[in-house]
Symmetry: C2
Subunit: 138 residues, 2 copies
DNA sequence: ACTATTATTAATAATCATTCCGATTACTAT
DNA sequence: ATAGTAATCGGAATGATTATTAATAATAGT
């Protein structure tokens, strides 16, 4: 008799070195990398790595809820290993994304839900402006 | 002698029918169109219209602050004629974007600025969830 | 440990939205 | 009307991402 301990909706994946290292790399950095940056880094340890592998594993990790995709207004996506809820400070000059974790407003989902016929599950807030580096330079 | 009455940083543009109609179209709709939807609509009145013209004029209108680009997590961009500050409700099921104008929190820019070394000029809030249409269906 | 099975990989081609470019056309001021 | 310049068109180029396929590696059962 065969028992499935997995959740019915969750696809299972067999482990792979590439994906393990990809997640570790994402967790070890705070720079919200692009797919190609991740590719360049991992290429050092996996000389035969393919960019498609990076994208495929990113989407698996996203499906598993371990990684989030960030769209910052650029033509390319950035990624981050999901930890705690937080917001982003995005620099208009250099495009850098900085995590902001000091405050989070979980209550606004319900507050906004009350004014509209829409079931709100989550929200994101992005703040735009100038980072300290770019302010110093100009 | 030639005097430039324009602000140094502001480029000036000659008016064009295509751009005028593009802006009018954007202002007349609430559906947050894609570039190709705009192209399809305008094509009716300008049979020789080029998609590049739509993109070029969109970027001019954005530069002039009359139009905003919205990234909704899809592979393509959506656009809206900027009116008053507002937030977006984005449906996870159908991708529809609904404007939310009932409340706006201008004060959080300063509030967040105080906790960090970042000059905040603006913010955006997107709420994700299920719209009433999709909730009814499922 | 061995084998069969099946998922993952690497390489590359395909896709899709967007941008760029050269030639042509339309405005505007003189 | 003409010259000068900006806007347009059409299509090609770009760049990020996704799909395809044959080879490779991980897992389950023996």
């Amino acid at each position: 008799m065969r028992v499935n301990h997995q959740d019915r909706s969750a696809k299972s994946y067999r482990s792979s070195r590439q994906r393990e290292r990809l997640l570790a790399l994402l967790r070890s950095t705070g720079i919200h990398p692009t797919a190609s940056w991740l590719y360049d880094q991992l290429k050092k340890d996996f000389p035969s790595l393919s960019l498609g592998t990076v994208y495929r594993n990113l989407s698996i990790l996203i499906e598993q809820g371990l990684v989030r995709k960030i769209d910052s207004g650029s033509t390319f996506d950035r990624f981050e290993a999901k930890t705690t809820p937080h917001y982003h400070l995005i620099c208009n000059k250099c495009g850098k994304i900085i995590d902001f974790e000091q405050r989070f407003f979980p209550e606004i989902n319900k507050e906004i839900s009350r004014s509209t016929d829409f079931d709100i599950e989550s929200h994101r807030i992005d703040f735009f402006g100038t980072c300290s580096d770019c302010r110093t330079i100009s």
